[in-house]
């Protein structure tokens, strides 16, 4: 580990730092990157340790759905669909002005019998607040003896007319699941960015009667994404164009984008509603590695130099894995090294210094090779 000393402490230099592209979003506070010293740091790696630095497929599953409704809808009655007995219905206030729901005024009826309230025990806001995570929410746990199907959720108490609620129906253990997948969770604006959705009931694929999708930005902006039905029952979402056309990308330092997918399928006479989502980072190409300067990595002063082409000023970091040769001439990993420094626009050299003690300890020999080189923008927290 090499740490260049600097007289000013970072604590003294902490400033509120707002990334330019975030609009009205709450401010994220960062160390003042321009004043952080240039640094290199190495982690020892064990023999055959897998590094998994490349993008990996990510998949999410959902056996729930949620909808947003207004006060008038809730007073008139909102249709609820369940596909298995024992569903949990959570109603959250989605604005700070609305008063709490009175549990005794929340009713649930079977669609075929609107005279018989089957809500049973309703968990009020005070009950759910003690979970430490569900604030401003009320919930109904449906009796397992009630067959799944269509229901009506109604509130008979007073509500302010602008109140909004999110109704969340969770079917724990249901095998009817919406699967969402993407090949990578980070993209540079203009990169191919695709997702797939599949509604499964166990091993069986269910045909989707309805599907719609949108991307939600970190600050809450929604962008519709086209859906394409495939012959095998899968639905594909290509977000390449809509993200390439964004006038302003919200940097990952402020959070991730999300693809949200709403679906409806039919199975054995029951409507199966599911909502799924998957997060990803979207970034501008604020810098690139122009080249690695050609020089052998010396065991006496092990280092590598990279020329960066900087489009946006900021603090940039290179990560890489140093390999050496064992007695059989095979390459083995020695250490993972990070090196970071602030750059203005234009070209600049980033010097990566490897830990010589780790090199000696490894007992591996020259020629040393650096692999898995990745560039990060620390100012905007992007992987480039």
């Amino acid at each position: 580990m090499k740490h260049h000393n600097m007289k000013k402490t970072a604590a003294a230099l902490l400033v509120a730092f707002s990334v330019a592209s975030v609009g009205a979003q709450a401010e994220v506070q960062l160390p003042a990157k321009a004043f952080q010293p240039a640094m290199s740091y190495s982690f020892a790696l064990q023999g055959e340790q897998s590094l998994a630095v490349e993008a990996q497929k990510v998949e999410t599953q959902s056996n729930e759905y949620w909808v947003t409704v207004g006060a008038n809808e809730l007073k008139a009655g909102v249709d609820i669909f369940t596909s298995q007995a024992g569903a949990l219905i959570k109603i959250s206030r989605s604005d700070s002005q609305t008063t709490a729901l009175e549990p005794q005024s929340l009713k649930l009826f079977a669609a075929a019998d609107l005279s018989n309230n089957i809500a049973g025990k309703v968990l009020g806001e005070q009950d759910l607040k003690t979970t430490g995570i569900f604030a401003n929410a009320t919930a109904i746990k449906m009796d397992k003896a009630i067959a799944p199907g269509q229901f009506k959720l109604q509130y008979e108490g007073a509500l302010s007319k602008n109140a909004q609620f999110v109704i969340h129906v969770k079917e724990k253990g249901s095998i009817k699941q919406l699967h969402l997948a993407t090949a990578k969770q980070h993209a540079i604006k203009g990169d191919n960015l695709t997702f797939s959705a599949n509604m499964l009931s166990g091993q069986k694929t269910l045909n989707l009667k309805q599907v719609d999708a949108f991307i939600m930005s970190p600050s809450g902006k929604k962008i519709a994404v086209p859906a394409k039905r495939m012959a095998n029952g899968t639905t594909q979402f290509d977000a390449t164009e809509v993200t390439a056309n964004l006038t302003q990308v919200e940097a990952p330092i402020n959070g991730l984008y999300e693809l949200h997918v709403n679906t409806v399928a039919e199975d054995k006479g029951l409507s199966v509603l599911r909502t799924g989502k998957i997060a990803f980072a979207l970034a501008e190409q604020t810098a690139t590695i122009a080249r690695q300067l050609k020089q052998p990595i010396s065991p006496f002063k092990p280092q590598a130099n990279f020329e960066l082409a900087i489009n946006e000023p900021g603090r940039y970091e290179i990560r890489g894995t140093l390999y050496g040769h064992d007695q059989n001439g095979e390459l083995k990993p020695i250490m993972e090294t990070h090196a970071a420094k602030h750059f203005d626009s234009g070209k600049g050299i980033l010097n990566m210094e490897f830990d010589r003690k780790l090199l000696i300890k490894s007992d591996l020999a020259a020629p040393f090779v650096i692999k898995n080189v990745r560039l990060y923008d620390q100012t905007r927290m992007s992987r480039l």
């Binding site: 580990m1 740490h3 600097m6 402490t9 970072a10 604590a11 009205a24 979003q25 994220v28 506070q29 960062l30 160390p31 640094m39 740091y41 982690f43 020892a44 790696l45 064990q46 340790q49 590094l51 998994a52 993008a55 990996q56 990510v58 999410t60 949620w66 949990l88 206030r93 989605s94 604005d95 700070s96 968990l123 009950d127 607040k129 003690t130 979970t131 430490g132 569900f134 604030a135 919930a139 746990k141 909004q164 999110v166 969340h168 724990k172 969770q185 980070h186 939600m216 600050s219 809450g220 909502t275 989502k277 997060a279 990803f280 980072a281 970091e317 990070h338 090196a339 970071a340 992987r383």
Partner: protein
């Protein structure tokens, strides 16, 4: 002659070890989970727990209770920056050379951020070099479906920000697919990723005991236990009421699952894993 030499070598080794141990200045840091703490000693951990853990240590007063704003993203200065500042102050003022950190819940992610991103902040390398061990009590290393459940569908308006309920950036960050991204790109210690530079071992809570006739349900407060069981609807069958076991064991290695070491083989709910329940305090005490 060989035996005498061996005994001399053993004695010398023992002396060296003892003298190194006596030179090491050990300290303990208690690092809270999600929340903006200003008095974590009383509000998050309780004095009973801290005193019990520190009992019988060479210097039972050499500890720091962190108070930071862990409602923020882990990389925010009010989260990891604040933690770095308080740990650095503790290390410097006590000349700490061996730091034993005890984290709870999201506190494990904030410490993992520091351990995985040493060039982010010039204070991080010194903290990493002093860390001997991180014992992560119920860490949310792979997020929790409950974070998705509380965030999902709520209209996020930038004007409102996260002023509603528990919808903070820290909760947002602990959604499952968000943590998958951070584990894959920014955090070390999960499967297939480079290891962390220092030991990170987790204590996994596997169940919530909320039977009203069972006195064990009351450790840490009964009302929490009842509420925790309602959250099980979003979690699989092995969970502490807030986090699935798989998330708690996703980074570093699992030191132990609650029932294998606790008194009476009782489970530790998410609330109980920061309290002196079922000998957790003495297990930690003996490990420091």
């Amino acid at each position: 002659m060989r035996i005498v030499n061996a005994m001399k070598w053993a004695a010398a080794t023992l002396l060296t070890f003892c003298s190194l141990a006596s030179f090491a200045n050990s300290g303990v840091a208690f690092i809270h989970g999600t929340g903006h703490q200003t008095d974590a000693y009383n509000d998050y951990w309780t004095g009973d727990f801290i005193h019990s853990v520190m009992q019988n240590q060479a210097n039972p007063n050499r500890y720091v209770v962190i108070n930071c704003d862990f409602e923020q993203y882990m990389w925010d200065s009010r989260a990891s920056g604040c933690l770095a500042e308080q740990l650095t102050a503790f290390i410097q003022s006590n000349n700490i050379t061996s730091l034993y950190a005890i984290t709870h819940s999201n506190g494990g992610n904030v410490v993992r951020w520091i351990m995985s991103n040493p060039t982010w902040d010039s204070r991080y390398p010194n903290i990493i070099s002093k860390l001997r061990n991180v014992t992560a009590l119920a860490p949310s290393s792979a997020g929790t479906p409950l974070a998705d459940a509380v965030i999902s569908g709520n209209v996020f308006e930038s004007i409102l920000g996260w002023i509603l309920g528990y919808k903070s950036d820290a909760v947002r960050m602990q959604q499952v697919s968000w943590m998958a991204y951070y584990n894959q790109n920014y955090l070390y210690g999960t499967s297939g990723r480079p290891g962390l530079p220092k030991t990170f071992k987790s204590v996994v809570g596997s169940d919530v005991d909320s039977a009203i006739w069972d006195g064990d349900s009351y450790c840490g407060g009964y009302q929490y236990q009842v509420a925790l069981e309602t959250t099980q609807n979003w979690l699989d069958n092995c969970s502490d009421g807030f986090l699935e076991c798989s998330s708690q064991g996703a980074a570093g290695y699992v030191w132990f699952k609650d029932k294998s070491r606790t008194k009476g083989s009782e489970p530790l709910s998410h609330h109980q894993s920061r309290r002196d329940c079922f000998n957790l305090d003495s297990i930690l005490r003996n490990d420091i």
